[in-house]
């Protein structure tokens, strides 16, 4: 039988490093917010003729849109993001581009006013907070017959925060490199990941509960380890089937739901990791009061690693 719980400090270390890199990236690059949250206009234009990315950017700058974001999204297709455009400004902009680059079709146009952006930001904040509180309460309630049910809820929430941090960190790196933005699809993806990750955690907690009730062992570590091993193939298989469909989405649809699919991809991996290696291990450490030991262990791990 695998000894998973014995390596618990290593799991924390790995997560810690990934999250730390993410936080450094967040501090450096920040998160690029989409127009839903920061207001502005964006459009996707399909040019009939071949248009050079830099020329387009230059032309936009000439027209006064110096801070416009320009991305090539396909053959002759460009994503352009500017400050909020009025009807006249938009018509003038498109006319100028037609004059310079020839015929174009507007495939998409979105414009969000500052008022709506602020509102959306707040509502999203409340939704994420509500999801966290709801899940904490629910998991605590689901494990109410266990001693210290609040610990189950808390560990599930920490695992969830872990996943959100990993996703945000990696996204901030992608944002820094590829100009990816945090949009509503991203938030939808994050909330889906939250649900997914807790779903996995609950399955493992459920097995811990069952094994504790059965009295498999008086040693909590053995119980946790057994539960993990017993549910291991389930955890991996479910993640695999979900990853398959997410990959299909990413490869075949891409574009508009690219953010969403990538969040799910990262989130499912992080969520599977955290429900196996973070949440149950935290439960164990908490049960044993090992926090101090973990801190002392870190330099040893460094010495071993170095």
């Amino acid at each position: 039988m695998f000894d998973i719980t014995g390596k618990r400090f290593w799991f924390f270390l790995i997560s810690g490093v990934v999250i730390l890199i993410g936080i450094i990236s967040l501090a450096t690059f920040g998160l690029a917010l989409g127009i839903e949250f920061s207001s502005g206009s964006m459009m996707t234009l399909s040019f009939e003729e071949n248009v050079d990315h830099d020329e387009l950017r230059q032309e936009l700058a000439n027209l006064g849109y110096t801070s416009a974001i320009v991305q090539r999204t396909g053959e002759g297709d460009f994503y352009i993001r500017t400050a909020t455009l009025s009807t006249e400004e938009k018509i003038n902009l498109e006319d100028a581009l037609i004059a310079k680059f020839g015929g174009l079709e507007e495939a998409e146009f979105y414009s969000v006013s500052p008022m709506i952006a602020t509102e959306t930001g707040w509502n999203t904040f409340w939704a994420v907070l509500g999801a966290a509180v709801g899940i904490l309460l629910y998991v605590t309630w689901a494990f109410r017959r266990m001693p210290k049910p609040f610990r189950y809820g808390t560990c599930a929430i920490i695992a969830l925060l872990h996943d959100v941090l990993v996703v945000m960190g990696i996204f901030s790196i992608l944002g820094g490199i590829l100009d990816w933005e945090i949009n509503l699809m991203f938030i939808t993806g994050v909330l889906a990941v939250i649900g997914y990750s807790v779903n996995n955690t609950v399955v493992i907690f459920d097995r811990i509960r069952e094994n504790l009730t059965k009295g498999v062992s008086s040693n909590f570590e053995v119980v946790v380890n057994n539960s993990l091993v017993e549910t291991l193939s389930r955890s991996l298989n479910t993640s695999l089937t979900t990853l398959i469909v997410v990959l299909a989405l990413l490869l075949f649809v891409g574009a508009s739901i690219q953010n969403f699919a990538v969040v799910l991809l990262i989130g499912i991996v992080a969520g599977t990791y955290s429900s196996l290696f973070i949440a149950p291990q935290l439960l164990l450490i908490w049960e044993r009061g090992e926090w101090g030991r973990f801190i002392q262990w870190i330099p040893i791990a460094k010495a071993k690693g170095g």
């Binding site: 009807t87 146009f109 979105y110 709801g134 629910y138 909330l191 469909v245």
Partner: protein
């Protein structure tokens, strides 16, 4: 047990058959799965209504309802299928036009107030009054003491330069279109730049009882060919007044007709949203309830249709803030591309998941795959019947739920394998697998439901709600149905197998005794 199981199996078959029929044939008046704007293309606008300070709640509510009716009747003339025009919290108006991708035209159609009013030139001792007269006047007061209404000064193109109003204390002040005060010195400069005297003072045209003539007295407005000499293919608008409007109009016509010949004093100014669209001369003393609106060069067909539509639907009871709070336009080709791509993604996803299940779990995996087909069909049928408006994100939610739908089966099969390894019979293992996995399935899916609920709340509280809402709904339906298909359908199929020769071959259940 077996008889009951056969019965359940028949019920499942019946549901499956029903779902297939529901997808193929129109049912409950629904022809097809309803697709969101991002898939069919179209425009989506959200406007903020602007009310004067101190407007009562009741007044606002009535005005909002009238505005919705007005916008609806304007849009109806364009033959948009299933437009959505709704009021939203915070005095907002949502307009969704599926298939209508000319967002500029859509905005023009919705946001134009469409306030038609008739004005005449202010007179001072029989002479027309110009802006310069007011600007040079020592004692600023209206020249026409009998008329307290606003004065509009328009340039050669008919665009308003300034408005002159009298406040409650009797002081005159100049304001612009947005109601901001204009400096007199600035106005003097503008007046001097326009050399000729053109900035006439237009005052409201009123009937003998003092009622101002506005578009609200119109009963019909129809585009007609304009057959005046010198213009080709031009249009005009034929108008028909209601009874009261006809009387007021004739009062005004009589008065203007009786004035000295061929001069500005005989003109009737027709203003749409404070822009002078034409100023015809009144050449008859009475028009008996009908008339026409022409423009100097004639209207184009589009202009005439638009204007007639605008006039007939009436003015918006309040202006809408420009630009809109939210604008969205997706072209139809882009949407069609998304549909093709997501169907491809869904089919490939479902095939790969089925392959994985069959390779890993063998016979039960094959049964779970059958359940997955049942699942997919039923969910799509429900989308159509409820109906759920399917957006790109909604399809994402559905495809994701395919991957998650087998989760309950995975849980159950893993459990079954454990029981088989522990030496139970197949029948006992199946029952134990299902009953023991149940708490985990229930508790874990509830967390997904919580998230769906939160997403639904978020979707109903934000303006760009389609992606969030669509995802929440499809994921919720998907997970709920997946519990049914994984538990009831797969179990029924497995029970049917128990007792057949297939069930004797443990290799089909991918359990190898002594492997571990």
């Amino acid at each position: 047990m077996t008889r009951k199981n056969t019965l359940v199996f028949l019920v499942i078959l019946a549901i499956f058959a029903f779902a297939i029929c529901a997808l193929i044939y129109p049912m409950f008046g629904r022809e097809q799965i309803r697709l969101g704007l991002d898939l069919v293309g179209g425009s989506h606008l959200v406007y903020q209504a602007q009310f004067p300070e101190g407007a009562t709640g009741e007044y606002k509510a009535r005005a909002m309802d009238r505005a919705l009716d007005t916008i609806r009747s304007r849009i109806d003339k364009y033959g948009v299928t299933e437009p959505i025009i709704q009021k939203q919290e915070g005095e907002r108006i949502l307009v969704q036009l599926p298939g209508f991708t000319d967002i500029e035209a859509a905005k023009n159609l919705v946001e134009q107030t469409g306030f038609l009013e008739f004005r005449e030139v202010e007179l001072n001792n029989g002479n027309p009054v110009y802006l310069s007269d007011y600007l040079e006047s020592e004692d600023p007061d209206f020249f026409d003491k009998g008329e307290d209404g606003s004065r509009i000064f328009v340039d050669n193109n008919g665009n308003p330069v300034a408005f002159l109003i009298k406040d409650e204390e009797g002081n005159l002040s100049y304001i612009d279109e947005e109601g901001n005060p204009i400096d007199i010195e600035e106005l003097k400069q503008i007046d001097e730049q326009i050399k000729e005297k053109v900035l006439l003072s237009w005052i409201p045209a009123r009937g003998d009882d003092g009622t101002q003539l506005t578009g609200s007295f119109l009963s019909e407005a129809t585009p007609r060919p304009d057959e005046r000499a010198g213009i080709t293919y031009a249009m005009k608008i034929g108008i028909v007044w209601n009874e009261e409007g006809g009387i007021i109009f004739d009062d005004i016509a009589k008065r203007l007709y009786s004035r000295p010949d061929d001069s500005v004093e005989r003109r009737l100014g027709i203003f749409l949203d404070t822009v002078l669209i034409s100023s015809p001369q009144i050449i008859e003393p009475a028009y008996h309830g009908s008339g026409e609106i022409t423009s100097p060069g004639g209207f184009t067909i589009e202009e005439a249709n638009h204007l007639a539509n605008l006039l007939e639907s009436g003015a918006l009871p309040m202006p809408l803030q420009k630009p809109p709070l939210y604008e969205e336009m997706v072209s139809a080709t882009l949407g069609a591309g998304f549909i093709d791509m997501s169907i491809k993604a869904g089919i490939i996803g479902i095939i790969l998941v089925m392959l994985f299940m069959i390779v890993y779990y063998r016979l039960p995996g094959a049964l779970a795959s059958v359940a997955l087909i049942f699942y997919g069909t039923l969910v799509l049928a429900l989308f159509k019947l409820i109906p759920v408006t399917l957006t790109l994100a909604g399809i994402g939610g559905f495809v994701l739920s395919i991957g998650m739908a087998v989760d309950a089966n995975v849980l159950i099969f893993e459990r079954m394998k454990e029981e088989l390894r522990a030496g139970r019979t197949l029948g006992a293992s199946i029952e134990a697998g299902f009953s023991r996995a149940w708490t985990a399935i229930r508790d874990s899916n509830i967390t997904t439901f919580i998230v769906c609920g939160i997403l639904y709340w978020l979707g109903s509280n934000i303006v760009a709600s389609a992606p969030v809402m669509g995802f929440a709904l499809t994921l919720f339906i998907g997970v709920a149905i997946s519990m049914f298909s994984a538990i009831v359908v797969t179990r029924t199929l497995l029970r049917l197998l128990v007792g057949t020769s297939l069930a004797q071959r443990t290799s089909l259940f991918s359990v190898y005794s002594g492997r571990r």
